[in-house]
């Protein structure tokens, strides 16, 4: 397994503070609109589907499947960027970690895992089930 890359800290804003506080507790929450019922990604205060500001943070299952991925071979420490489709609906950008990159495939089931960043809250990544 290649050595882990240093992960830059995410920028925390007033819109996403709750998300990152949950991440510090190891909880993966997904923004979900209480007006139209849909979950979205990336997280924002205004629902991208219906325009409502009644967006709530709901505990997510942490389960998903790989929509697509690419291993950055050119990097000093190769890493796998990916989109994972969450069980809750939306597809999010992430990294695939703790795995053999040569064994990855689209459609594979993955679970969320939080990884430390350089001086910020941990970020959600995924590893194959």
């Amino acid at each position: 397994m290649p050595e882990a890359r240093k992960i830059p800290a995410p920028i925390v804003t007033s819109e996403t503070e709750t998300f990152w506080n949950a991440a510090r507790e190891g909880r993966f929450v997904v923004p979900t609109c209480s007006a139209c019922g849909k979950a979205h990604w990336y997280p924002r205060a205004i629902c991208p589907f219906c325009g409502s500001d009644k967006v709530q943070w709901r505990n997510a299952s942490g389960r998903g499947t790989i929509y697509t991925f690419s291993v950055m071979r050119r990097a000093k420490e190769p890493y796998a960027i990916a989109y994972v489709t969450l069980a809750e609906g939306p597809t999010m950008m992430t990294n695939l970690v703790d795995c053999d990159f040569d064994e990855l495939s689209i459609g594979q089931a993955v679970n969320v895992v939080f990884k430390d960043t350089e001086g910020g809250p941990p970020v959600p990544m995924f590893r194959p089930v």
Binding site: I11, V12, T13, T68, S70, V71, M72, T91, N95, G107
Partner: protein, 390 residues
């Protein structure tokens, strides 16, 4: 209201440099502006509309307007759509001319990422911390290359597109580049050369990626009365479309580009269909960029792009859809990391009958330029431009 026939490209100039360590970006903008004016047979005093994008030094059009000492401006537009900006700006210039806002529009592009040593495609860059998605992309090592690579990986999964099929796009570009004395990569390559080059981001290889070059280009767009008074073969603008495609709150299909929306708008306005087009310039930041746009413009069915581009079908004189006969971004140049301008310039050469004789398309009366700006793997701008020889 339409722009069809309301404006003409009267001047076009591509800077011959591919490496300009001894010139400034402003100087390159000025050199291409003067080159396009000379090509058109017009003077700086004739310019009353100035169009530029994010590569122009300073915010908006003011800095370059001053450097060039443009004193007659009554219409300006610095719409920033990334590398496809110039494809859209030709449409904007035609619209402004149709509305009587200006008569002679200058559009410029220039930059020198090669001299500045930018690792353009492989280094994660935080462009603007106020972008709300930054926290959900930057930590994951999002770069230009791996974003496009994720599109290619998904396309392969959904449609069975192979690395060899993608390689044919580079092979076709190299067949054209061998005739371009200014091309950065003038050597003809094979499918094996491409798939055996080092992997940058799976499944894209080094030779699936465009070059990094300095340089620039400029265009002069004028009203019909002005075009008729000039000596150069007039190129009529007959259709333009533009759009943004993004991740739609996490519900997206990464195999589809914005060309699926900007294309039909441009075709409708022009009143032509894909089989009518004799030559295409297709933005080629990566081979996958070309394949997806060709599908989305309707030159083949969605998902059939791999078969369509294979076996030399994009090579002028060989295949059915000659593309990027200057060698494109894959082999010729990619000034300022923005390929939209050079796409239009080669289409103008084809319509004027001034492409290199080895790649000139016979009876080329209808051409299309298609650009994708920013990141196909997240959010991008798309612009389509259709032009006709008089």
């Amino acid at each position: 209201m339409t722009i069809k026939g309301k404006a003409y490209i009267a001047g076009a100039f591509e800077h011959p440099t591919r490496h300009a360590p001894d010139k400034t970006v402003a100087q390159l903008h000025a050199e291409v502006a003067l080159g396009a004016l000379a090509d058109a047979g017009l003077a700086r005093e004739d310019i009353d509309g100035f169009f530029c994008a994010g590569d122009a030094p300073g915010p908006g059009p003011a800095t370059m307007a001053e450097y060039l000492n443009l004193t007659k401006l009554r219409h300006v537009d610095s719409t920033e759509l990334g590398g496809t900006s110039y494809v859209a700006l030709v449409g904007h210039a035609a619209a402004a001319i149709a509305l009587g806002k200006c008569n002679v529009a200058l559009i410029t592009l220039a930059g020198r990422p090669r001299s500045e040593g930018q690792a353009t495609g492989t280094t994660p860059r935080l462009r603007d911390p106020n972008q709300p998605e930054a926290a959900f992309e930057f930590p994951y090592g999002m770069t230009t290359a791996n974003g496009y690579a994720m599109c290619a990986m998904r396309h392969r999964h959904q449609y069975g597109t192979t690395s060899e099929q993608l390689a044919w796009i580079k092979v076709a570009a190299s067949h054209h580049a061998q005739h371009n004395p200014n091309a950065m990569l003038p050597d003809v390559v094979t499918v094996a050369d491409v798939v055996n080059s080092p992997v940058i981001a799976d499944p894209l290889h080094r030779l699936d990626c465009c070059v990094i070059s300095d340089g620039g280009g400029a265009l002069i767009v004028v009203r019909p009365e002005v075009a008729k008074s000039l000596r150069r073969p007039p190129v009529k603008i007959i259709g333009a479309g533009e759009t943004v495609k993004h991740l739609s709150g996490g519900t997206f299909d990464l195999t589809i580009s914005g060309a699926s929306r900007s294309g039909p708008v441009a075709f409708d306005e022009a009143g032509v269909t894909p089989p009518d087009i004799k030559y295409v310039s297709i933005y080629d930041s990566f081979t996958i960029t070309v394949l997806m746009q060709i599908e989305d413009l309707g030159f083949c069915d969605k998902g059939a792009g791999g078969k369509f581009v294979a076996d030399g079908n994009l090579i002028s004189g060989v295949g059915k859809l000659p593309f990027n006969t200057d060698g494109g971004g894959l082999c010729n140049n990619h000034p300022a990391n923005r390929g939209g301008m050079t796409k239009i310039i080669e289409a103008v050469r084809q319509l004027r009958g001034e492409a290199h004789p080895a790649v000139q398309v016979k009876n080329c009366n209808l051409a299309l330029a298609q650009g994708t700006g920013m990141q196909l793997g997240t959010r991008h701008c798309s612009a389509t431009l259709i032009m006709e020889r008089e």
